[in-house]
Every structure is written in C-alpha cells, then in structure tokens.
Amino acid sequence: MKCYICALEGGESEAVAVCIVCGMGLCMEHAIRKDVDVWEGGYPLPSKRVKAPLPRILCPECYAALYGK
C-alpha cells in the first residue's frame, strides 16, 4: 500500500500505517499517532486506567476533524 497523501501530492511512498477512522494508507511523515487512555470497570468499583495508553494512528484530515487542529 502507498501513502494516499503523498500520492495526492504527486509523490510516492510506502504506507507504514492506516488511519483508524478512514482507512487511508499513511507514510511515516503523514501518520499522526494519538495515544488514548483506556479506563475499564466502574460501578460499584472505581474505574481503573490500564497501565499503558493504546496507540491510535490518524491521518491529518481525521485528526483535524476530531481535535480541531
């Protein structure tokens, strides 16, 4: 798979990741890693945050749509 954004710009590079939202192939330059904390459990026990955050890869468009940046 090739990087979709590089292809739009007329270039070509191998994709190293896929956007979790839209499925776009992304090279290292265009992939955005946005880790998320995961909480499990709840009533009647306090929620617990799992020790490590989960990695999540987004493309620039989805990142901007979700986080307004």
Partner: protein
C-alpha cells in the same frame, strides 16, 4: 491506576450526602405533611396517613432516583458505594482493597451527617421535631431482633441486585443504576413501615446525629440494628452470588 483516594473520598461523601438529603429528607417531609392527622392504626406513625403504602413508594422512589443519579454521576470515580454495608461486602469478597475501607466509611458518614445537618438548617426546626430528619427506628410491634433480620433481608436483596447488575462482568452495561435504584424503592415500599428500611448504616447515622445534636429524639439505642442487619445481609448476598454465579 484509579482516581486518587482523596477524590474518591469526596465522591463517596457527596454521593451519601445526596442519598440522605433527598431520601431521608423525603421521609421527614412526609411526616411534616401528615402532622395533625389522626393515624388510623397504632402501626401508623404518620408516614402512610396520607396515601397508605403510596407514601412509602414515594419515599422509596426519592431514595431510588437519588441513588440512581449518584451511581451514574459518581460510579466511575469512587464506585459510588454510598453505604458501608456495600463497601464491607465488596471487601469481604476480595473485590475492594482493605486499606480503602475505613476512608470510604468515614466519607460516607461525613456525607450523611452533612446532609442531615444541612436539611435541618434549610427546612427549620420542624424537620427535627416533627420530621425527625427521616431517622429510622423499629415500628410498633417490631422487636430488636426482628428489626435486624428485616434490615438484613432488605439489604440482602439490594446487594444481590448490585452483584447481578453491576459486579458480574456478564451484566448488561448501563442498567445498574436504574436496577439498584428501583430495587431500593421496592424494598422501602415493603419494609419501610417495619424498620424504616435503612439498608445502610450511614443513612441512619446522619439523621441520628442531627436529631441528637439539634434537640430531637435520641435514637442511638437502635443504631446497632442498622449496623448489624445491613452488613450481614450484604455480605451474605455477595458470597451467595459468588457461589451461584461461579463455575
């Protein structure tokens, strides 16, 4: 990693405050509304004079809705036990850390006491002298041991619902608050006119302290009923559920 103990302490205090202010407050208001009426039987102390068992259903719903709201608001933070019997039952079945038991119970007692004192201040002296701040006591004809057993059976059902609707990982998510609230409302409707249906040592502690400090009745002699009964009932239910649900 959980939320800090300090934040959980505050959440437990706030949750128990809501439970006592609205739940016990509803009982006090019902007594104030019924003041001056002539009870139809000696078994009737005022709650029930206006609408029979409907009075108890209304009080039960006040408790139940307040509890459901607290669970949805605070359940993820502290677990929203808002009841020492629930905290002890979860500890007894090794679900809750022993080092957190005393802080949780202290928070629950503080929240309950604050609720009763604020209710008395906001409503006025009749809340204490007529409404008794919604304190619980055995009703005419109900002995000390009978009251303990009734409180144990009521709390048994409450804890069984908590186990089945919330603790069990197979439970449908999101319904626990509603299920627990409705269970409390149902329990209070039936045993309210027997023991007051505390199901919760903290719920009884707040009004007892308020009445004692503000010139109301001294009811401390009955406090062991509302410690022993709920704790025994909750612990039995938790162990029974684990046995029934286990492989």
């Amino acid at each position: 990693m959980t939320v800090s103990l300090g934040k959980r302490f505050i959440a437990e205090a706030v949750g128990t405050f809501i439970l006592v202010f609205f739940g016990a407050g509803a009982a006090a208001v019902t007594l104030m509304l019924a003041a001056g009426t002539t009870p139809s039987t000696p078994f009737n102390i005022g709650i029930g004079a206006l609408g029979g068992l409907g009075d108890w259903l209304a009080i039960g719903l006040a408790f139940g809705i307040a509890i459901a709201g607290s669970i949805y608001a605070l359940g993820r933070i502290s677990g929203c036990h808002i009841n020492p019997a629930v905290t002890i039952a979860l500890f007894a079945t090794r679900r809750f850390a022993g080092r957190d038991v005393v802080p949780y119970i202290v928070a629950q007692l503080i929240g309950a006491a604050a609720a009763s004192l604020l209710f008395a201040w906001a409503v006025g002296s009749d809340a204490v002298l007529v409404g008794g701040l919604g304190a619980t006591a055995p009703f005419p004809g109900i002995g000390y041991l009978q009251a303990i057993v009734i409180e144990a059976v009521g709390t048994f059902l409450l804890m069984l619902v908590i186990m089945g609707s919330a603790v069990d990982e197979r439970a449908t998510p999101g319904f626990a608050g509603l299920a627990v609230g409705l269970a409390v409302a149902g329990i209070i409707t039936t045993i309210g006119n027997l023991t007051g249906s505390s199901l919760n040592p903290a719920r009884t502690f707040g009004p007892y302290l308020g009445d004692w400090l503000l010139g109301g009745q001294n009811l401390w002699e009955f406090f062991p009923i509302y410690i022993v009964g709920p704790i025994v009932g909750a612990v039995l239910a938790a162990f029974l559920y684990d046995y029934l649900a286990g492989e």
